[in-house]
Structures are given as structure tokens and as C-alpha cells.
Symmetry: D2
Subunit: 352 residues, 4 copies
């Protein structure tokens, strides 16, 4: 085992990041050390890179970011039994306390004291990453490494889509960033009868079409309300999956939701926003769900089952692949709005 | 059968109401004619009386208001089989179309084309009222007439409390008008372990105490957030039942709700309001339910069962009883904020 | 309108059936008269034809059987508004009373006083059939007539598959008659990750393969328990859908069900049978659902959505098409065990 | 800390048990050592004492039985943070593996590799018992020690009653051993509108009456079916909770269950039994739940909330209290059928 490793580091409280040699993490008796094969970039990583308000409040440099990855186990602590050297794994990076009310009642994904690896502790944008055994997820060998590197955001999508009935339902997916695009695939695979994808960015709409959404609409131009009402005989859609966090999009979503429909909200508005609770929720008899993370570990089993069965084509979402050392180029690509999921390869060799 | 009857009438598009003789309603083959024994006043009736903005948009005078009542069947149309002359009944006053998506999938309470008797058609503030057979509800003889006259708002409470798990849960009831007070009784009867009643009106807080809420708090004076967090070990309450429609109260409600908790919203905010979706719903993993009316007719069976078993003491909520002809006095009483449920007796004789 | 029509008639309490001219049904104010385009044969029709014990207890000749069909509206009663002449329709043939506890709480499919058209009243094996408006189902024009004629059994399948979670689940379908075969299609369309089809009849196993079950097993030869346990890492399947009604098959089903799994039972055992409640249900923490008919009308909306979206290929199940007058030949075909769904065309012309 | 302690021991593969001095358990880094204050006897302990078929297959002597208790923490391993010396605790004695599908999806109560302390490892019929930290349950100080000693069977009752809707429902509790009696209390506290208790043992029926069941019936004498049907207007009860494990009782339970009702089965039939699946489950559209153990740890939070709120009077169920050394007398009492819950006090002093 080498003593140092290549890593992306946020060295201090300022924009940017370094590519550096860092010590390989030391593992304790309940930990697993993973050699990262592929890591994937999340919008959160861009927040950290840009050092925006959220990042200033949350991140304590120096930090190795990165919470989406896959790789192979290279060492295990003495108490570890769930995996062994060589196993191909990913991990749930939300580390729950195991002792709060939520953790003890099957809702560890909303643990009162959660810590996120890659946000609150060193993460996966490095050659090696340390993971507690409880959070390791063994990957079925039939699942390709690139897909295995995006289980975290795919899990957000699976959690959201399957948070209620989806089979034989009409669904509007609002916002077509990577998680929204994954939602299209998951909703289709799970029997949604009509998928409406709403997105103002041209590039993302193209991807939504590639993901085979039945209707791809641009709320900046199309009269979404009229089109949805026409297509649904005036009833509205059964389900909205809100991925944008944009107030106008959220309000539009509630407008097209049918009486008694489900609104699953995952996109984060940057500040409080105005909502017509009377018409959009109360008289409507709507069910609104706040969606956070992934169910631990029901969502992971669901993902595994869907991927292993070949039911999800995620290729269109993966727009960029680059050596991890080119991280800053990846950040530039993200800012163009013309990339979706960017994969990073620590050893510099890009291999699907 | 007389040809005319005493009735409260909104004669024209202006504040106020008349006490008048009106023709006794003619019934069709699927209708039931009921002699009203006790009627009960709802806040909606005050809106109509005051002729506020909502009333101006919705009500088409002349109209007999009133949608909470009980009485005895005096005539049935030729197709009617569910009840017969003499039966003691109340009614669900939301008349559903029976043909929309919601009606055909067990959600008639949010029918796309609902009409409300007492709002969109002549109601129960009269000696006689006409009800379609489908909406008649036969009352168990063990249930007292005064309770039978408030099944509509009690049904709102039962619908809200039982819209999710309540047994062994901590619950905050926000707003202690009649429906909020009923919620206290229902939540207690159904196993809620701690009931917090939040209300700024002194008189209503007194009633909340009489209804045996475990904690009666005044958000205008008490630090509700701190008290709830202290009492729940920092976790927050499992359930909030929002009955006030007041933006500050709604925001406070979400603040004291635990991660993964249920927020059932029935109170109607008068206009769009600001909400922190990120913290209050999404990160919190909250479940938010818009509650409208009563389930047709599951809620009615539940009410019947709870009342028949003697599990609900509603006496403290019924603060006033008067002859129906004194309707305007009732409106004055309501405006004082010192009355809760007002019962009206068409024949002038007040009898518990 | 003609006065008589061709019909299949069970004329008396004995095996067999006649092809006869019968009076065209007279409709009442709430009825719809439908000209049958395609009808489909159910196992129930064979019971009636064979005049077995069940039929002797239930059927009161003379009777026109047939409860699976589609056709066009040719006349409507004066109160009917949901459909008009020319509309392409099918119908839910379970006519619920509308007044019992189940009917008033959204469970009309298990009405206490249900009557079945084609069993308790004249049915669809005729040129014309009378249906109450409440039970008429308007068919989306994108759905082919042959598929529209099998909505009744397809609805059994949709009801069963969607009675719990199916997406990302492993499922064993036990018995591959028409409803079992439909279950394969529905489960796959709704995201089941692995579909095991269990069937001892060779012809039906071939059809199960055509329906794209992932694993087609013969319990008479294969060690189903071992194969399922191997394939699921010793866990068992998440869901069993029991379509056979055979005691051995039911017991095998419970054996391969995982701890905490769902067992949805639709197949009817002919008499009481032995079951190991301790191991198969109680210690297992299993959820067992009795499935009867179709949800009125949630299942119908689901079917419509799935068919309209082109998510179900039912072609392999339709093995025979013949003029309705050849009904007895159809019965013979059924008895061979080499046909699955047989379609009948009243006007003698077979058209897909 | 002493080196030895008084304990009840099954010394060898034969009927009976010894009272002996045994070594005080050594704890590991994740364990908690509890000084037992009160222990409670379960029917399982009688099986072990009697050395019946089940015991012969499962138990490996020498063994200290006992899995119902409360006490105070006297030592904790170095990794333990959830409790400290002096804390008043009980424990979930089903120790789940934490790694199987069920454990990782919130169903640890049906873990594939569960071990039970007091059955598969030394238990609580001793002065001290060793418990892993994960399974320790801290008891609210408002809960009396005697009640705290029966959380295991009370948890069975809470799990069963709250496995579905109970508020405003009619419920039949079949079998009035301790868990059945607890079910009466829990069902009443959680809003059941009518509780029917069915029991053939005279003494148990008296206790059922003390627990305030609305109707206490003797299936050996009363026509239970007729009485229930009369009282429910021919509909049947909404819920049956099966606690007896007796085939006749189970069959009777299904008979009185309404169409679409819930049957929660906890009592264990000693061998396979005959059931009419067609009439009792399938046509009935029944929901049947196998109930095993207690939800980890939702049920525990529910018990805590109900007990702390004073909603459960369990006194009538506790019929006997004795020094632990008198264990064999307790076994004799159990065999008489005239005792229900027997509490054992290791230090010989009986204190409520």
C-alpha cells in the first residue's frame, strides 16, 4: 500500500481546488479502504468548488470532496465481515448515527446527526477512500463500473420515483439535471404510462429526449399547463417529481398536478418561496413528500435489482469522462450547462 | 306537509340574511326530504353572512345556507331504498359527480365537479332540506341529536386525525376553532400519546383545556418551539394538524415537526404565503397532506363508530344554542370570538 | 334495432349450451345497450358449460353466459350521460349494490350483494348485451378490439400485480393460465426485476416463455425451491402471485416466498386445504392478500393507461379466434389444455 | 461485582430446571451488563421447562432461560454510548444479524439469522444478564418496574394491534393469554370501537372482562358467529387478532371477519391445519398478516409512548409475583391455567 495518493483537495476557505498528494487514509476496526475506480461529480461538488454561501457555512477545509464513486476493496478492519479484499463496491455516503429516533425506526436517511463523507469528512475524489463497513454496498458483477459510480444520484431518483405508486401513472419530471434524467429512466422502467419532462435548458431537453421521455416541454416557451391538461382530459398528472428547486417550476408543478396527486420534492429552493397552499395542496387533497437521500438500504436493493435486470439505460446522462487530475476542467464543463454527469478516473485511464 | 317553511335566506348580493317563509323543497325520485331537528353554524356561514370576497365569488343569492344538521326523514323519492320516513339522519353535503377520475377511484371527496348543499344549493338553515339519497347518512340511535348536527365538522377532524398513524404519536393541533377542538377529542380517543393545542385566543384555549389537551400553548406568548423541543427530547412532534390557516402558525407548525413527520393541512390561508420548502419539507423528509372534506363514506363510518362507542366528549365545543330565527344573534356571537359551535333549532325549542 | 339476436344459451340445468335466437335486451333509464364486437371465453364459462357442482349451485337457466367483451354503444337510457351511441366500450360485469359497507368505503369489488352479468344475469355471448351505466367502461381508441375484449381477466392480473410493490422486486407467478400469463406482462411492464413462471402444462410454459418470463419452471420436474433459493442468494422471492388454486402449488409458493414477502392469492382451491401457518405465514412475517375481481375503477384506469402506452403485449395469450356460433368448438379446445384465451366474434367475421 | 449469581438453569436435555449459582456474565466492548430487577415468565419458558418437542429441537443446555425483564445497568463495554451505569432498562431479546436483506430494509424483526437471548444464549432468569448495546431499551422513569418487565409480550400485542388501522374499528381478539389480554388494552387505548374477546378458559375470560373488552365470549358455548354478525349488522368485524394458535379458533376468526378485513396472526398452530382459502381469504378479499416479534424499534417507541401517557392498565394481567428461586412453583401455577403473567424477583423481594 502506498503512503500517499493523488487527491482533489479544497485546501482553504476560498474558491477553487488543488490536485495534490495526500496521505492514504488509515482505517479503524470497522472500516473498509476502497481503491477508487470511477468517481462522479455532483452539483454539490461545484458548490464546494465555487465556495458559495452554502459551502462557506458547511465545509471545513482542508477537505477531499467527492461522494459518488465505485472501486475495489483493498483493506478491511478486523471487525469487518460484509466484504473482503477485491470486492467491487460503492457506498452510501450519508453516515447515520444509529441511535436517534429516525435511525431506530427505519428512517436512517433522515438521521438527526448525519455526517456526509465528501462533505463533512474526506471523500472519494482520490485514489483511496475510507468507508465504515455499515455503509459499504457490494455491487453485482453484472453492473458496469460507470453506472456503479453514479449510484448516489441514481438512488435519489429511485427513492423519489418509488416513494409512491408509479405504475400506470402519468408523471411530470420537473428539471432535467442528472437526477431528473435518471428519474425518466426509472419511471419508464417501473411502468409510468406517460412521462412529461420539463426543462428550460436546451441541452438538457435533448438529453431528456434521449432518455425517452414521452413529452419534453420547455416551460419558458411552451404552455405547459394547457398541454398537460389537454393530454390528460383536464385531470392533470398523477405525480410530479420536482428536481429543479426553482420556485416558478415548483408552482407550475403543483398547477398541473391532479386532485389527489403526489408531489415528491427533491430539488432545493435556495430560499423561502411563495406557495398557494389553499389551491395547490389543501383543496387539491395533494400528498407532498420531502425526499432526502436514499432509503438505507431499500433504495440500494431496488437500484441493484433494476440495474442487474438491465432495465435502465443511463448512457445519455454520462456526457463527460476525464482523468481525475482534470477536475477543474470538469468544473468548467459543468458551468457551461452543456454537460450532465461527469466521470473522473483517478488512475487517468478512461474506461467505460 | 306544509307548503312553506321558516328559513334563513341570503336574499341578495349584500351582507346580512333574512328570516323568511320559503317554499318547502320538492323532491325528485332519488331525493330525501328531511325535517331539520338541529342545525349548526360553520365559519363558512359567517363568510356568507358577511358577504366577503370569497362569498361574492361563490354564492348566487337567493340562497338558504347551512350544511351541518340532523333531522328526520319525512318523505322519500320513489327510487329511494336506503332510508324511510322517520329515520334519523344527517348528510354529506358535498355532492360528488360520480363520473370523474376521483369519483371513480374512491376519492369522491375531491370530486372535480363537487356541489355543496348550503353553498351552491339551498341548505339546512330551514325547517326542511332536500338531500340526494346517495348522500344521506343514517344515524345510530345511540348518538345524541346535538352531536349528530355537527358531523360535518367532526368529520373534518376525523378525516384529518386519521389520515395517518396517530396511536402512540405526539401531535400538535394548531388552531382551536371547533374543528381543532374536535381534533383534540379524536386524537385522544385514538391513542395519541401527547396532544399539544396551540391557539392565541384566550377563550379557545380554555376550551382546549376542557377538551383535555395535554399541553395548551399560546404562540403569542409561549416559546412553543422551545417547549415542544424540550418535551420531545429535541425530536419534535410526530404529527401536526393545521387548522388555523394562518401563515405564522403554519410556519411554526413545520418548525416543531420532527424529521419524517406528518403535516396534515386543513386550515385555509387566505392568500399565497411564504414557506421554507428546503428546511421544512425536503430536508425534513416530511409528509404533507392536503385535507379536504370527509372521505365518502369511510370517515362517516369512523365517526359513527367512535360516537356510538362513547369515545368522544364534544360538549365543551357546543357553546351556544338558540332558536334558528335568532340566526343574526348567532352571527354576532361568532364575531366576539367567545363562542365555538352554535346550534340552531328550527322549531324554536332548544333541547339537548 | 332488430328484435332478436344470436346468443349462446344455457337452456336448462344440464351440460352443454345452445346457439339460439333470443330477444334483444330491453334497457331501462340507467342502462346502456352494447353491440358486442368481440367476446372472450373464461374458465367460468367452461364450468357453466360442463355444469359442474359450482355451476349447479349458482346458475339459474336459461342464461346467456359471457362476461368478457367489447363493443359499441347502440342505445342509452334517458338518464345516461357517461357514454353515447357509437362509443367503443367494455364493462365491469360485477354489479355492486352501492349501499353496503364495502361499496361505501371504496371496496365495491367485494360488495356484499354483488351480481355478475353473464353469471347471475344475461351476459355478453350474444349480439347485444345490456349494461348499467355505472359499469360501462369507455375504451381509449388506441386500444385494439381484441385486447379490449379481455379487460376482465387482464384486470384480475393488474389488480393482483399492483396490489403491492412490484418495481424492482422478484416475483413468482404460479399457474400460467390466461390471468397468470397476463401477470407476466404486467409485472414486467411495471418493473419487476425477475419473473419466475411456474406451470406444469407444457403448452402454457411455452406461452410463458413467449410472454418473456425470465425463468419458466415446471414444478413437476424442476426443483423449484432450490432453483429459486440459488438465484436469490437464499432469500426467496419478494412476491408470489398465486393463479393456480392448486394446493401443492400454493404450498410451494409459500415455501419460496422470502421472510416479509407478499403472497397475493387469486386462484381458487376447490376445497379446504392444509397449510403450515406457523412457518409459511406467521414466523415468515408474510403478507397474504385475497384478490377478488378488479378495483372499481382504479384497476380499469390502470389497464387503460398501460394498454394505451403500449406497455403490454398480450398477443401470445390469444390462441384462438372463432365465430361465436362455434362456441362448443371453443369449449372443446379449452379442454385440450392447448389453448389459452379464445375470442368469439358474434357476427362471424374474425378480425384482429 | 460478585463473581457468581443466582440463576435458573436448564442443566441438561431433560424436563425441569435448577436454581443454581452461575458465573456473572463477562461483557465485551459492545455489551451492557444489567442487574435484573423483575423478570417475567413466558409460555416459551414453560416449553423449555417441560422439554417438549420444540424445546428438544431448539435448546442446547446448559441454558439460563428468560427473555422478559427489566433492571439497572451495572457495567458497560468501552464502545457503549447509549446507556450508562444506573440507567433503568429492558431489552429486545431478538438479536438480529444486521446484514441480511431484512435487517438492511427495516425488517430486522424477521432477520434471517436471528438469535434469541434466553433461548439461544443465556437469558434473564438470573441476577445479571448480558445484552448487546444495540438491543438495550432505556425505560422512561414514569413507567413502573412491573410493567417494564413485560415489554416483550406487550410489544407483541402492540405490534399486532398497530399492524393496520384500529381506530374506529371493530376487533375480535381470539385467545386471551397474556398477549391477547394486552391486545385488549392496546386496542381500546388506540380507539377500537368494539372489542370482542374470545376465550374458552374461564379464568382468562374473567381477566378479559377486567381488561374491559366490550364483549367476552366463550366459543365452546356461545354462538360467536351469530352474535358477531348480529352486532355488526351482518358485516362482521373489521379486524381479527389471532393469539390462540388453535385451528378451530383460527377458522372461526376468519368466519367472523368482514369482507376486506384484516387478520393478524400471532398464535402458532402446532402443526399444519386445514383452511378454506377460497371463502375465508380470496373471495373475502382479506388481508392476512403474519406477526413475529416486535418492530425494531418502532414498537418499542410506541409502547413507551402509550405507557408513559398512562393509556394502558396492565394490572389484571399480572396475576402472580414470587421470588425467582420459586421458579418451579411458577411453572406449576402456569399449568393450572389460572394464572396469566407471573413476575419473578431475583433478589427475593416482591415490590410492585
Amino acid at each position: 500500500m502506498p503512503e500517499t495518493m493523488l487527491a482533489i483537495v479544497k485546501p482553504e476557505a476560498a474558491p477553487g481546488a488543488d490536485v495534490r498528494q495526500m496521505p492514504v487514509p488509515q482505517i479503524g476496526p470497522d472500516d473498509v479502504l476502497v481503491k477508487v475506480k470511477v468517481a462522479s461529480v455532483c452539483g454539490t461538488d461545484l458548490h464546494i468548488y465555487n465556495w458559495d454561501q452554502w459551502a462557506q457555512n458547511r465545509i471545513k477545509p482542508p477537505l477531499i470532496p467527492g461522494h459518488e464513486f465505485c472501486g475495489n476493496v483493498v483493506a478491511v478492519g478486523k471487525n469487518v465481515t460484509a466484504v473482503k479484499e477485491g470486492d467491487f463496491v460503492s457506498a452510501e455516503m450519508h453516515v447515520a448515527c444509529g441511535k436517534c429516533y429516525q435511525c431506530r425506526t427505519g428512517e436512517a436517511h433522515i438521521c438527526q446527526h448525519v455526517k456526509i463523507i465528501g462533505v463533512d469528512a474526506n471523500g472519494a475524489f482520490a485514489e483511496f477512500v475510507k468507508i465504515p463497513e455499515s455503509n459499504i454496498w457490494k455491487i453485482d458483477p453484472g453492473i458496469p463500473a460507470d453506472y456503479a459510480s453514479v449510484l448516489d444520484p441514481l438512488g435519489n431518483a429511485v427513492h423519489t420515483v418509488l416513494a409512491g405508486e408509479i405504475a400506470a401513472k402519468t408523471v411530470a419530471i420537473i428539471g432535467c439535471g442528472p437526477i431528473g434524467l435518471f428519474c425518466i429512466a426509472v419511471a419508464r422502467a417501473c411502468g409510468a404510462s406517460e412521462v412529461y419532462a420539463l426543462e428550460i435548458n436546451d441541452h438538457r431537453r435533448k438529453l431528456a429526449t434521449k432518455m425517452k421521455a414521452d413529452h419534453v416541454l420547455n416551460p419558458a416557451k411552451d404552455n405547459v399547463y394547457e398541454q398537460v391538461m389537454d393530454a390528460t382530459g383536464g385531470t392533470g398528472v398523477d405525480v410530479i417529481l420536482e428536481m429543479s428547486g426553482h420556485p416558478d417550476a415548483i408552482r407550475l408543478g403543483f398547477k398541473i398536478l391532479r386532485l389527489g396527486g403526489r408531489a415528491s420534492l427533491l430539488g432545493i429552493p435556495s430560499k423561502p418561496m411563495e406557495l398557494n397552499l389553499a389551491n395547490d395542496i389543501i383543496f387539491k387533497g395533494a400528498l407532498v413528500q420531502g425526499i432526502n437521500g436514499r432509503l438505507m438500504y431499500k433504495t440500494w436493493f431496488q437500484m441493484n435489482a433494476l440495474l442487474k435486470a438491465g432495465k435502465l439505460d443511463l448512457d445519455p446522462v454520462i456526457t463527460d469522462r476525464m482523468p481525475m487530475a482534470d477536475f477543474s476542467k470538469g468544473m468548467d464543463r459543468l458551468r457551461t450547462g452543456e454537460s450532465s454527469k461527469i466521470l473522473l478516473y483517478p488512475n487517468g485511464t478512461i474506461s467505460k
